[in-house]
């Protein structure tokens, strides 16, 4: 029911307003505000320790902000726990893949679907997961992981685990994907395949993605909008070209 409204005001899709967070005496984020439009690729860059991962974890709900508000499709999600944000349509991946090592690849993907609390009573009668399994296989096929479906996730390589994380986050038909360095530790061919894949998701399925990434060479070509974070503040924002020409950005990255 809310769908048409958020389509009209396309900036109401996701808004973070004045997010602040400190750890002890360290101010990791200082009044960070940004918006993510529907069906877009938004990139956040910044030197190490600038607060990117902290910000991402605040959006996914793993960390609570000290101050500020998060609005997703007209819902105030600031105080929602991560599992409820996930059911609303915000799926996130971890910087270091956190697959379930003793589950098979297929089971890992299935974990992201279905009931948030599988009913033990229904389990006794048997649960028909036929459709979910088909869907999971289709996603695995897209990422060329389907031949590994019955292997324990612990036996995958680092790059495959990254893909599995991505596969898992797609299983729930998310509206917004949060990706923490999806290209880190991934070979160039696979990295550009991931970026193309994200672009496809955006244009074919209308999935917005918010990325934190250091591999600017690969990421900038594909994204629509860039935020630059430095010492917990947004120092620059705009289209990839605008940001690259901003002298402040060069200064932050290369030093004085």
């Amino acid at each position: 029911m809310r769908e048409p409204k958020s389509m009209k005001l396309d900036n109401n899709f996701f808004i973070a307003k004045n997010i602040s967070k400190s750890f002890g005496g360290l101010q990791a984020l200082h009044k960070v505000s940004l918006s993510i439009p529907e069906a877009s690729l938004t990139l956040m860059i910044g030197p190490n320790g600038s607060g990117k991962t902290t910000f991402l974890q605040i959006i996914s709900g793993i960390l609570k902000p000290d101050d500020g508000r998060l609005v997703f499709k007209d819902h105030d999600i600031t105080s929602l726990p991560p599992n409820l944000r996930f059911t609303l349509g915000i799926a996130s991946t971890f910087q270091i893949p956190r697959v379930f090592p003793s589950l098979s690849v297929l089971e890992n993907v299935l974990m992201a679907a279905g009931d948030p609390t599988p009913n033990p009573m229904r389990a006794l009668w048997g649960v028909d997961e036929h459709e979910l399994i088909e869907k999971a296989f289709n996603i695995l096929k897209l990422l060329s992981l389907d031949h590994l479906w019955n292997k324990p996730a612990s036996t995958l390589s680092g790059g495959q685990m990254k893909l599995l994380e991505l596969a898992r986050s797609l299983m729930s038909d998310p509206k917004l994907l949060l990706l923490d360095e999806p290209l880190a530790g991934v070979n160039p061919a696979l990295a550009s395949r991931i970026m193309k894949f994200l672009t496809e998701l955006k244009s074919c399925r209308g999935i917005a993605a918010f990325l934190v990434e250091h591999r600017l060479d690969l990421a900038l070509k594909h994204v629509d909008f860039v935020y630059v974070l430095h010492h917990g503040r947004v120092i620059s924002q705009g289209s990839p070209d605008d940001v690259l020409e901003d002298p402040l950005v060069a200064k932050a990255y290369l030093g004085e």
Binding site: P82, A112, P120, V127, H147
Partner: protein, 348 residues
């Protein structure tokens, strides 16, 4: 005759251990929650029988209980068992009522015990649960009106209307069918999306939350189910032994169940069957040695040493247990999906 009694009692004990191991398999083997209060939930079942069987039977037959419970419970247990011998329905009522009281009570306690798990790290949780089970034991040991304190409580023989060996055989059939049912529930849960969620939480709790699972609720469910199962074992055990003594329910029993699950194979639904069998086999062998081979020391204590060494060897040499967990456990592909995969793989 002696062999028959031996086999019957072995089967009954095995059934009780399978129930305990199955409940621990769900909680510890699959959810990764070290329920070191297992004996407390086992005790809830046994204590319900100890506290209720004589009183309930007396109320039903109109017998007035006189004198202190701790001194008279065994006398009344014998007296009332004689009444049951001519009235099978009375015996069955006592059995069913204690079961109906014990299971929900234990499930409720299980849900309560799942709450510390939200805030405590695994090792602190284990310690807290051990303390919880000791507190229950110490209270029942010292509050005499409930279970007769250190005297223990007599339990009526609800099968007194049968003659030996039919009595023992009926007990075995009853215990083994309950054990089979409970193991089957464990198997079905373990191989369903519910079991998948349990394993995922065990593997990575944060990731499970990030992928939408309500961990607190799943934990509460699991503890409720596991505790309900353990209390069934407790009820059967109390009727099997014929008396209940709080000091019989020490932490050592919890660790026997942990041993069964670890030896059998944590996370494998068949682990509880194999683990309970392995333990019982060792236990009986040691009992046999004690009775038949003269040794210069007491084999009873020696058995603790042997079991301790066994658990160490298993953890060092084969930490996954005798039959390890083998994914995928929770997906059974039907023919359509199977042919899909085969088709795709041949395309490659």
């Amino acid at each position: 005759m002696e062999v028959l009694t031996f086999v019957l009692s072995l089967g009954t004990l095995y059934s009780i251990y399978v129930i305990l191991a199955a409940s621990m398999e769900l909680e510890y083997g699959e959810l990764g929650l070290p329920n070191f209060a297992k004996v407390a939930f086992f005790a809830v079942g046994a204590f319900t029988v100890g506290a209720l069987s004589v009183r309930l039977c007396a109320t039903l037959t109109g017998v007035a209980l006189e004198g202190e419970f701790k001194l008279r419970s065994y006398y009344y247990a014998t007296l009332l068992s004689a009444r049951i011998s001519s009235n099978p329905l009375l015996g069955l009522t006592v059995f069913l009522v204690t079961l109906i009281v014990a299971v929900p009570l234990s499930m409720l306690l299980g849900i309560l015990a799942s709450y510390p798990a939200l805030r405590l790290r695994e090792d602190y949780l284990a310690t807290t649960l051990i303390a919880f089970s000791e507190i229950l034991r110490v209270i029942t040991r010292n509050y005499e009106p409930l279970l007769g304190g250190t005297f223990g409580a007599g339990v009526v023989d609800f099968l007194a209307w049968l003659r030996s060996p039919w009595r023992e055989l009926t007990m075995l059939v009853l215990c083994s069918s309950l054990a089979a049912g409970i193991w089957f529930i464990q198997y079905k849960l373990s191989t369903s999306p519910f079991g998948r969620a349990l394993r995922a939480i065990r593997d990575d709790e944060l990731a499970s939350v990030a992928y939408g699972k309500d961990v607190a609720k799943i934990r509460a469910w699991t503890m409720a189910i596991g505790s309900g199962m353990a209390s069934v074992a407790g009820v059967l055990y109390a009727f099997y032994i014929g008396s209940v003594n709080p000091d019989d329910f020490t932490v050592a029993r919890t660790f026997l169940v942990v041993l069964m699950v670890t030896v059998g194979g944590r996370g494998n639904p068949y682990g509880s069957l194999v683990g309970a069998a392995t333990y019982l086999l060792l236990d009986r062998v040691m009992l046999f040695i004690k009775h038949n081979i003269p040794l210069p020391f007491d084999v009873n204590y020696f058995s603790y040493i042997i079991l301790g060494i066994l658990i160490l060897v298993i953890i060092v040499r084969k930490p996954e247990g005798l039959i390890p967990e083998r994914p995928p456990l929770t997906v059974k592909l039907n023919k359509i999906s199977e042919s899909n995969i085969i088709q795709h793989n041949t395309e490659k």
